[in-house]
Amino acid sequence: MQIEVDTEACVGAGQCALVAGEVFDQDDDGIVEVLTHVPDPADESAVRRAATLCPARAITVVEN
């Protein structure tokens, strides 16, 4: 799995950081920061949830 984020689309809701805190964080403005673009397999399901919950659909998950 690989993660891509659209920081311009991000609205700073923080759902991603809440459900997948090992993978997503927020910068000082609240915009998404990806901690690892290739997450640990244990975090993959949380990443998919984060992508779905994102109100701006700013997270793209590429399944390999």
Partner: protein, 391 residues
């Protein structure tokens, strides 16, 4: 007309905006292999509404950026998308919906038909609204060269429209009938601050005033008469007066449609019939009453609950999700998490930049507002009483 047999009939999702789309996609990610039909009355591929009143209206984003993933992704998921196709009736006993002159049977029905803009009926003719992609196309065209704009309705949408329009250099007047600006339940609580923000950017706000009549002028403009006797001249008038739930097509089946589709705490309106998004009034166990939310995040979270319920059956534990919404106006990002029922009081929370305000009721924080709070808004989640996301 022929009807599909109920056995092996598809799951039918009526409404192809964020709520309907999320249900359809979540059904697949939850392991559902049944046929899924996603029905949308608009001709466009599914798109998100929040960018329409912000980046798309302002011309910062092309329309395509508001799309929620294309036809290919849906086809890959085995979701049959029907656009430009409205469901016109429900036969609950027969477990079928009418569409395009045909009845279609369903095994499960998800209602996600959202709202339509409340129209402003004036003798002068049609007033523009802002709900759909088509509305935004019309508005973008009409805004070019519009020097004076009147926005009727000072809720979130009206304010965002005013902000975008003012940035383009037009002279904007917001006409709001209630005595305060609106921002859902936050309107009365943040009104002073919002008023100051708009006035600082040169937008005129008329509170406690409504529109009585309007007429077109020979040059294609408007003369708008207000309840206080004054008259506004404008090149463009836009109505942002909220939305009306699209539930007429469900009539005659015994569903409670007084304010959207009334559902239990998990989105069920009747056996095998669920509702999500702007059209759905879910029972909120924390508040102890039904409530219809018009937030993107609630639509998504409700969709996840319903998809799980359809695939895995009812859950005994209701995980309440805390409503979140945001609004971008000028250079301010307003974020809100939780509930803001009165009576209560604001408590300021330390915040490195911007502001964080907690709403306290009976000594408990029920909601938090961030005003350009940035990353610090995350602390809001731990402050609000019920903060569990859908598991």
């Amino acid at each position: 007309m022929s009807a599909d047999l109920a056995v092996g009939a598809p799951i039918v999702v009526v409404g192809a905006s964020i709520a309907g789309l999320t249900v359809a996609q979540s059904l697949r990610s939850e392991g559902c292999t049944a046929p899924i039909h996603l029905i949308g009355d608009e001709v466009h591929l599914p798109y998100g509404r929040p960018p329409l009143s912000k980046q798309v209206l302002a011309g910062q984003w092309p329309e395509e950026r508001a799309l929620l993933g294309g036809a290919e992704a849906l086809a890959a998921d085995g979701i049959e998308l029907h656009t430009g196709s409205a469901a016109t009736a429900l036969d609950l006993a027969g477990r079928r919906v009418a569409r395009g002159g045909r009845w279609q049977g369903f095994s499960e029905l998800v209602v996600a038909t959202g709202l339509r803009a409340r129209r402003l009926d004036l003798s002068g003719g049609a007033v523009a609204s802002l709900r759909t992609l088509d509305d935004v196309r019309v508005l973008r065209r009409e805004l070019m060269g519009a020097r004076r704009v009147v926005v009727v309705g000072g809720g979130v949408l009206g304010q965002e429209l005013a902000a975008v329009t003012a940035a383009s250099g037009a002279e904007v007047t917001v006409v709001q009938k209630p005595p305060t600006l609106g921002l859902g339940a936050l309107g009365p609580l943040l009104s002073e601050r919002l008023l100051a923000l708009h006035r600082r950017h040169g937008v005129r706000v008329r509170l406690g005033v409504g529109v009585t009549a309007a007429e077109r002028t020979p040059d294609g403009g408007w003369r708008v008469a207000l309840t206080d006797g004054s008259v506004l001249e404008a090149d463009l008038v836009v109505a942002c007066l909220g939305g009306i739930p699209n539930t007429e097509w469900l009539a005659g089946n015994g569903l409670d449609l007084a304010d959207g589709v009334r559902c239990d705490a998990h989105g069920m309106a009747a056996p095998g019939v669920h509702a999500v998004g702007d059209v759905a009034a879910w029972f909120d166990p924390v508040l102890g009453r039904h409530r219809r939310l018009e937030h993107q995040t609630s639509a998504i979270e409700q969709a996840l609950v319903v998809a799980r319920r359809i695939v895995h059956g009812p859950r005994s534990d209701a995980d309440p999700f805390t409503p979140y919404f945001w609004s971008d106006q000028y250079d301010v990002k307003i974020q809100a998490l939780g509930s803001f029922d009165p009576p209560g009081e604001w408590v300021a929370i330390d915040c490195p930049s911007g502001e964080l305000l907690a709403w306290h009721r009976h000594g408990r924080c029920t909601g938090v507002v961030g005003w350009n709070a940035g990353r610090a808004f995350r602390t809001a989640r731990s402050l609000v009483g019920s903060h569990a996301l859908v598991a």
